[in-house]
Amino acid sequence: MAKKISILIVDDEESVRDSLYNWFIEDGYRVECAQDAKKALSMLESDVFDIILADIKMPGMDGLEMLKRIKSLRKDSIVIIMTAFATVDTAVQALKDGAFDYVTKPFDPDDLSHLIRNASKQISLLEENEILKEKVVSLENVEDLIGNSETIQKVLREIESVAQSNASVIITGESGTGKELVARAIHANSPRKFFPMISVHCGALSESLLESELFGHEKGAFTGAVYNRKGRFEMADSGTIFLDEIATISQKMQVELLRVLESKSFVRVGGNKEITSDFRVICATNRDLKSMVEKGLFREDLFYRLNVVNISVPPLRERIEDIPLLVDYFIKKYCTSMNRPLITIDSSALKRLEEFPFPGNIRELENMIERAIVVGNGKRISLKDLPLGKAIVNTTFESLDDLEKNHIFQILTKYNWNISVSAKALKVDRVTLYNKIKKYDLKPSK
């Protein structure tokens, strides 16, 4: 059943209010009246009206001022301005301020019907648009983050609670855990969702390139700057900027970034015009920023500016129960993209995957499944299709210390933090293992 359209009539003349009231009531609309802007605004605080018909000249606040206030309360409100004395200037001003239409009293009955019909159509379109947007967002969300484990559910709850706010977020977690997906989920559930999310991989760019990338540049700012170019902050206007690998930026960039975050304005490289941009910032890192601050490697003020909310994405080894779901998801994803019939996975292969430590996390699992689909027999993924026994290229750990730390953690986790058994497996004595645990500050996962 179609929704009953509601109309608020705002006019200081009682006869006008009564006339319009009777006219619209006969059309089956829900109609309320207010004798001035003040009363109308107070009614709008407690009630929602689809269409507001307002006189331009009223004692106290006039129709144009009221229009601005209404628009700040509810952007989508359809406001039609009425006047007895039409001037081009006021008509243009009303439309500029967001009025749906502007009519001169008295109007032809047919014009009034036409006006309300058009406004009703606009309302239907807006509602339809909202429904479609919701559908798009729910589709995005379903695709984004997979898992039933308590750890990933906690992340999802954190995303939900932080998404609606404008707070800066730092997402921490090992490489390949899906930090960017978390950032996308925050953006997709935020009021900024219909504006862009701009990603910048800070670690991949040199200091000067990053500066130009973030702030943009003017033509001739440096060799090769042939055109003016918008920076990422400018492109993220009304949306979100995602700064990945934030811990890699230089001290100079940290100062620049702090200034931009505080003023939301910047100047393009080689330019002199101040540009403002309304963006939300989400950062990600696989490093411990707090300890970097303690060591003087990361500015404390920038850290606190960014770290309003911290979301920690768990490594795959802490959400083993999600592996079957993830495997299923990646099989569907790659079979569809490779235009192949859907295949399954052997239970023995799945069991081995559940036992595998996955130092490269979900990214590693994803690559493994993609490879298995390519090299496999096209029916089932079996153990031989998975490179579990072979050396896996591990991009996470570059130093021997990192590798050792991770290996010890894996063994401890595997043997339930039984020191004697773990030490035996590692072929070291218990004291050595204790020393290593202390050195790497290892703690059992929650």
């Binding site: 006869s15 319009l20 006219w23 006969e26 059309d27 008295p106 109007f107 009955p109 047919d110």
Partner: protein, 178 residues
């Protein structure tokens, strides 16, 4: 609602024979006897010299206070150009689910628009306009059915597009209201 009848009161210069031609159809639509009578009202007090029209709102209120009663539905019928402050003209108006309404035949004739006189069409428009305004007094709102007499009409051409009968849905609503 225990109603005795529908009363059509014509005011000012009016050919009462016009009403006699539509009475039967009105009785059939509302299943009530229809009475016609002459009313007396000084219309000059409702005249707006600036607009050269008569104020429909004030006339409706006057009829409601002086000629309407609770045991019938009353419709004041005129041959004057009616307006309400916000609109350039109206064919008629009524209190929704109230005791009375008004209608004017002033804008219903072809001659008003420079077209050849058509008496049959004129009567047909009067019939539809009276039934439409009476429908409002019985609580019926505008209907989306293009042939229903309760369809909103802002031009005479719109009136010509619809029938003089209530559609199935409006009849049902009328029964519920009754």
């Amino acid at each position: 609602m225990n109603l005795d009848n529908i009363t059509l009161i014509y005011y000012g210069y009016f050919e009462k024979e016009l009403l006699e031609m539509v009475v039967n159809d009105i009785e059939r639509e509302f299943s009530l006897p229809v009475k016609t009578q002459e009313g007396h009202l000084d219309l000059s007090v409702f005249y707006d010299p600036a607009r050269r029209q008569y104020d429909g709102n004030r006339i409706l209120q006057k009829i409601d206070s002086e000629d309407a009663s609770d045991d019938c539905k009353t419709l004041g019928i005129f041959n004057i150009d009616l307006f309400i402050p916000i609109l350039t003209y109206i064919f008629g108006q009524a209190f929704l689910n109230g005791r009375c309404g008004i209608a004017s035949i002033y804008r219903l004739s072809n001659e008003r628009y420079g077209i050849k006189k058509d008496e049959r069409l004129f009567i047909d428009r009067i019939r539809k306009e009276i039934i439409h305004e009476l429908g409002h007094t019985f609580g019926l709102i505008h209907c989306q059915n293009p042939t229903c007499v309760m369809r909103s009409s802002t031009y005479v051409e719109d009136i010509d597009q619809k029938n003089h009968q209530l559609c199935h849905k409006c009849k049902k609503d009328l029964e519920i209201a009754g």
